[in-house]
């Protein structure tokens, strides 16, 4: 389960949800990090889709552990877009989940320079709206 925290103010882009994927964002608001598993071919995938991108089958939701490692990352030092320009520098990373798939996220809770490839991280969720939370990551 992810620790669910409230956002004091949220000025970042907001995921619009849509076909199939709304379930991901509402589950995150309850502390559950979802990926998909295909019962036909066994593939696991993120981001969620209406089909299994490997075999074309119908994937099922699966709750991920919320742990992973930093596969690669950057420290963004220049971004002209609000609100990010006021938050520089920050880490954008690809997190490899314990279950296999990767997802993009920010690593917080440590100095950007302390982040390394292979670093163990754990997910938490920041609640944007009643049924919408965005996953973030911090050192495990």
């Amino acid at each position: 389960m992810m620790d669910v925290r409230s956002a004091e103010t949220w000025q970042r882009p907001i995921p619009a949800g849509g076909n199939v994927v709304g379930e991901f964002w509402s589950a995150a608001a309850e502390g559950r990090l979802l990926i998909q598993h295909c019962p036909s071919c066994g593939a696991r995938q993120f981001y969620p889709r209406q089909l299994c991108a490997t075999c074309g089958g119908e994937p099922h939701w699966e709750q991920a552990s919320g742990t992973g490692v930093v596969h690669t990352f950057t420290i963004v030092r220049q971004n002209g877009a609000a609100p990010f320009k006021d938050e520089l520098p920050y880490v954008v990373a690809m997190i490899e989940l314990a279950e296999g798939p990767r997802m993009m996220g920010n690593v917080t809770g440590c100095a950007p320079e302390a982040v390394t490839v292979g670093m163990a991280v754990r997910a938490y969720a920041v609640k944007v709206e009643d049924n919408l939370a965005v996953p973030f990551w911090e050192p495990a």
């Binding site: 000025q11 907001i14 420290i75 920010n106």
Partner: protein, 399 residues
């Protein structure tokens, strides 16, 4: 049945696809032109270069940054009466995909003479915001696959930085090695009077430039500019009566590994590893036969991944290969002899410039930047976020 006399063979027109004309619009800064103006000017210059009459164009491929209907609207504006049409949009590599498609269409007889154009007033209209955001509004709702990235403040440069960091982690590639790419390309920019930046550059200059998204410095990144280009392809048969020596399309292939950067399956390998071998097989040559390479250089890491994928060096060996100086002027594989996107111009999508420069080299019209004995050139575009890669192999000799 099935017998061909000598006369019959001679009567079959030689439909081998060739590049017969190239034209570039004013760059790197052209406030007097809008995007359409770049398409127009580039087309006019390619027509003048080739000797093709506009009325003889019967195939048209284009892409731009104006919107979903830009291609058919441009065909109308330019007055192109096409019977073959292609609006494939893969970002910066679109034009290499267009050549792949146009070459097949010309061979097939679907059309005889294809115009490919690009035009952008990006710098004059938008300023230098492409790489580091500035588009997104506060609390804007993002739909589609972009919603898996938008909340995290990723930038275009940051996306390429993810690949650079992983390559460094797996193979020990260094910032000094990446900088070497920018330094070599700048040397050629010094020979291009139109290039945006022409002063010599050192590895230390690159490393001392501002870090934009670790590990990419400002001078690991391409410039932002205005500009456009046009290419005219036709049959070898028709090219005999035209102005320029024909440049033959020997091979062309493309691939897509992902679109959004967070879906990149292997951050150390581009789709060049898939399409490169296909293009080489078509051409019947190996990387050792290539005399110059025009590779998409949106960022230094882009060049490194294309080099490795195309097989000019082994996977993970790109850093050492670059440091040996092969890509520099006087090296055995000169890179981006017009000064590239890193120093000359990069108007949003640069793939058409790669084809134009490869053609100039193969015609032996590159002046001081001419690669000696240049018989085979390779142009490889990268579009999106290292997403869609396409390679085109061109030659002086009839295949």
């Amino acid at each position: 049945m099935g017998q061909h006399t000598t006369d019959n063979v001679a009567a079959v027109a030689d439909r081998t696809p060739v590049i017969a004309g190239i034209g570039l619009s004013d760059y790197p800064k052209a406030p007097h032109l809008d995007a359409t103006g770049h398409h127009v000017q580039a087309m006019q210059r390619a027509l003048a270069d080739s000797g093709v009459r506009k009325q003889d164009i019967d195939g048209f491929a284009t892409v731009g940054m104006l919107g979903a209907d830009e291609a058919p609207a441009l065909a109308e504006y330019l007055g192109i009466d096409h019977r073959w049409f292609d609006a494939t949009m893969t970002g910066g590599s679109s034009f290499e995909f267009h050549v792949q498609h146009a070459a097949a269409a010309i061979r097939d007889g679907m059309c005889d003479t294809v115009l490919i154009t690009y035009g952008s007033d990006f710098l004059s209209r938008m300023g230098r915001v492409l790489g580091t955001g500035g588009f997104m509004q506060r609390a804007q709702r993002v739909s589609g696959p972009g919603q898996w990235e938008a909340p995290y403040g990723q930038t275009l440069i940051g996306s390429y930085a993810l690949a650079a960091r992983r390559h460094m982690h797996e193979y020990g590639t260094t910032s000094e090695q990446l900088a070497e790419i920018a330094v070599g390309v700048r040397e050629y920019a010094g020979l291009n009077p139109l290039a945006m930046y022409r002063d010599p550059l050192t590895v230390d200059d690159v490393l001392a430039s501002r870090m934009v998204a670790d590990p990419l410095h400002k001078l690991d990144c391409c410039v932002t500019s205005d500009g456009g280009g046009a290419i005219i392809l036709t049959t070898a048969e028709r090219a005999r009566d035209l102005r320029q020596p024909p440049v033959y399309v020997l091979g062309a292939a493309g691939s897509e590994t992902h679109w959004y950067i967070s879906q990149m399956p292997d951050f150390t390998e581009s789709g060049a590893a898939r399409c490169g071998p296909v293009a080489f097989a078509q051409a019947g040559i190996t990387p050792a036969d290539v005399d110059t390479i025009q590779l998409y250089d949106s960022f230094t890491i882009t060049v490194l991944l294309l080099l490795e994928g195309l097989g000019f060096c082994g996977k993970g060996e790109g850093g050492a290969f670059v440091a040996e100086g092969h890509l520099r002027k006087g090296g055995r594989l000169p890179l981006n002899t017009d000064g590239g996107g890193l120093s000359s111009c990069h108007p949003g999508m640069r793939g058409i410039f790669l084809l134009a420069e490869a053609t100039r080299q193969l015609r032996h019209q590159a002046g001081e930047a001419q690669v000696p004995n240049c018989d085979i050139a390779l142009a490889c575009g990268s579009g999106g976020w290292l997403s869609c890669i396409a390679a085109v192999i061109l030659g002086r000799e009839h295949p």
